[in-house]
Amino acid sequence: MDLDEYRRGARSWLAENAPDTRAEGAPDAGGVAAAKEFMVKLYDAGYSGITWPREWGGQGLTQAEDRAFAAEAQDFALPTYVFSIGLGMCGPTLVDLGTDEQRRRYIRPLLRGEEIWCQLFSEPGAGSDVAALQTRAVPTDGGWVVDGQKVWTSVAHHADLGLLLARTDVDVPKHKGLTMFIVDMHAPGVTVRPLRDMSGRAHFNEIFFDGVHIPAENVVGKVGDGWSCAVTTLLHERLSISSGVGMGGQKDNPAAFEALRAAHAGPGGATDPLVRDQLVELYVRSRALALFNQRLAQETKAGIFPGARGSAAKLLLAELTLFQADLATSLAGPEAVAYPGEGDGGESAGVRLANTIAMAPGMALGGGTNEIMRNIVGERVLNLPPEPRTDKNVPFKDLRTSGDASAADGRLA
């Protein structure tokens, strides 16, 4: 099928079936039920798992169709938020690395929204440096017992399953002692605690594992091979962020160019020249990134895999997100920071602007900080030499941790 035709089909299906609600962020329980209903329809229409293998329940199409659908979907507010981790990260990892039994068991329910997934990598002491994680998995009869704490876990309070990275060996260097598991989030010993982000809402969770049992068949990949599995997952994460999966579209963003144009300029053009010029700057940055993303999509269609260049797009998106939220509030002035509350005059412009500026840093922190993205672009796109590393060949138990007095001096020699 011709891509334009595919796009038109997607558009008309979306126009008919996309719910007419703004569904940004984590929904409540009722929202989850509605989202699950929608997901079944999406799957049955062939728009869930577009690039995933037919064998396991996907559509077997290319990145081009996937990006085409995503581009169309940007204009709608699809309630796919709770599935985004499964669709963007966990599922693709299982497709790549799972056993056939795992794929058979998990992929289709994931694509149809019957089971919600979360991802359990980061820890308080292991953010950018994921491989420094401390959560232990110790072998036991027929499986493993897990103890530890994870953090930054989106949708965990709705999740049925999680993709867990835990340390199975402390006597080898840190990248070599990790193993990936599928964990039942309803298992005894799993505690999910909401973690408020800087906007005051609980978009994330902390997860505590207290003697949680995981059956042996839930190991993903090989024991001790967790780091390379995680790299696969993180690669999918970056791709999914840069391709727009799991991102709200710009349509409802009060800091996007069109919204600011409507608020501060207009066809008459009789506005403050300095405001005009700031809107030009926003247009330039938005359009530059949009065209870059479109070029990446066209290259993908032409068989050129974007690879680490997706990290450049993610970095630019993080910067644009900060820039436009900052600009929007600066243009609006005092009303962007003090406004009638939600219960007291409905959703004012102020509420939405304040929420935008309060959430803006998220894009620069989730899925790898800007510094990590710059390292990736530098090392994997430009092939620059890596930073000297001191943590690669030392047993994990001998490494420094934050606040450790021995870390007070960065000197190696």
């Binding site: 980061s122 308080p124 002491g125 953010g127 950018s128 440096d129 420094a132 953090v151 930054w152 408020r196 982000d197 800087m198 005051g200 300095l274 405001v275 900060l322 900052d326 509030t329 600066s330 243009l331 609006a332 002035g333 005092p334 009303e335 962007a336 920071v337 003090a338 406004y339 009638p340 509350g341 939600e342 007291d344 102020g350 509420v351 304040a354 500026i357 309060a358 840093p361 998220g362 620069a364 922190l365 989730g366 900080t369 800007n370 510094e371 710059r374 390292n375 930073e387 590393r389 001191t390 943590d391 030392v394 490494l399 420094r400 934050s402 606040g403 450790d404 870390a407 007070a408 960065g410």
Partner: protein
């Protein structure tokens, strides 16, 4: 030109810093900001009483300390760094406006100096004078959409649309106050509507006084921003000396170190600009307008950028509610637009430079 603190000013700084460190550490700020009033009245009482800070710039004849704007800047830098909630800046603004009036109002000034009166200045409100009596009374009508600490006010000192300064009791008939939601949880604001509210005229048609008040407020807010900037930078500098990633302290990475160096450069310039503006406020009135506009242009941006980068360099922990980074970030953004959209300060500076 005096850009370096005197011995007395350094002592004042240490006194305020020491007081705030024990009376209002960030843990207490968090408790206060979740409380009904949004601040701890006991801290505010001590600030006014023990330290005499509400009367700092009130002339001695009205019970104040008669200090200068350089001293006020020193204090506001500390309250800013501490993210102190409560009406200190708002009341200070009222004191500034009153001291600039042709005939200073003894009752209000002494009430502020003694800490028994929370007055809140409502600058450039656009509120109209409905009727003015010959007895120094005026009836106000209109809305001031964002008034800092408006709910804490005993008296609202309104700059009306036609440039009068009118004191209205917040309990007066015709005054309706509505608490607003704020981005910055450490400073409350209110919308205030005057619907035929009667007040007392403090001054009329005193353009010079109002302009000077506006400049002095710009300096005062800049001093607060300097404190926020410094505290946000201190926080990330300290964190980068204890946080380890990839077996190294993050402050040893140039990706962090070079950003912190640039932030320090902003701090050095910001402090120089604030000291200069405060000096001009006290000793070089002709230089004040440009110095004040420069202070708002530079500090608004620098403070927000440093607070933002401090948050970002903290990594994920900086995105949590429990970490303090977002409090600096939000105060910085709120302060940046407190006196109007930033472009207004740039435009004013362009005018003053005759560009």
């Amino acid at each position: 030109m005096k850009l370096v603190l005197t011995q007395e000013q350094r002592e004042l700084r240490e006194a305020v810093r020491g007081f705030l460190a024990t009376a209002s550490p960030l843990s207490a700020v968090r408790t206060a900001m979740d409380s009904e009033t949004g601040h701890d009245p006991a801290v505010y009482r001590r600030l006014a009483g023990e330290l005499g800070l509400t009367g700092l710039i009130v002339p001695e004849e009205y019970g104040g300390a008669g200090a200068g704007h350089a001293e006020l800047a020193v204090v506001l830098e500390e309250t800013g760094a501490a993210l102190l909630p409560g009406p200190f800046l708002a009341t200070t603004a009222a004191a500034v406006a009153l001291t600039q009036a042709r005939t200073p109002d003894k009752e209000l000034l002494s009430g502020i100096a003694e800490g028994r009166l929370n007055a809140v200045y409502v600058p450039a409100s656009g509120v109209g004078v409905d009727a003015a009596g010959g007895d120094g009374r005026a009836v106000l009508r209109g809305t001031a959409p964002q008034v800092i600490n408006g709910m804490d006010a005993d008296v609202l000192l309104v700059e009306t649309a036609d440039g009068a300064l009118v004191a209205v009791e917040s309990a007066a008939e015709g005054v309706t106050r509505r608490a607003l939601t704020t981005l910055d949880p450490t400073r409350r604001q209110a919308g205030v509507t005057f619907d035929g509210a009667a007040g007392r005229v403090i001054s009329e048609g005193d353009e010079n006084g109002l302009a000077r008040t506006r400049d002095l407020l710009a300096v005062a807010v800049a001093a607060e921003q300097l404190g926020v900037l410094r505290a946000a930078l201190d926080a990330i500098v300290a964190y980068s000396k204890v946080r380890v990633a990839f077996n190294r302290l993050i402050g040893s990475y140039q990706g962090v170190k070079h950003k912190l160096a640039d932030m320090h450069c902003k701090l050095e310039q910001a402090e120089s600009i604030v000291r200069h503006a405060a000096w001009a406020a006290d000793e070089a009135p002709a230089e004040l307008p440009a110095a004040a506009a420069l202070a708002q242009v530079y500090l608004g941006r620098a403070c927000f950028e440093v607070a933002r980068d401090s948050l970002l360099l903290h990594g994920g922990i900086g995105f949590t509610w429990e970490h303090d980074a977002h409090l600096y970030y939000k105060r910085a953004k709120a302060d940046e637009v407190l006196l109007g959209p930033p472009r207004t300060h740039r435009a004013r500076l362009a005018d003053l430079l005759e560009l």
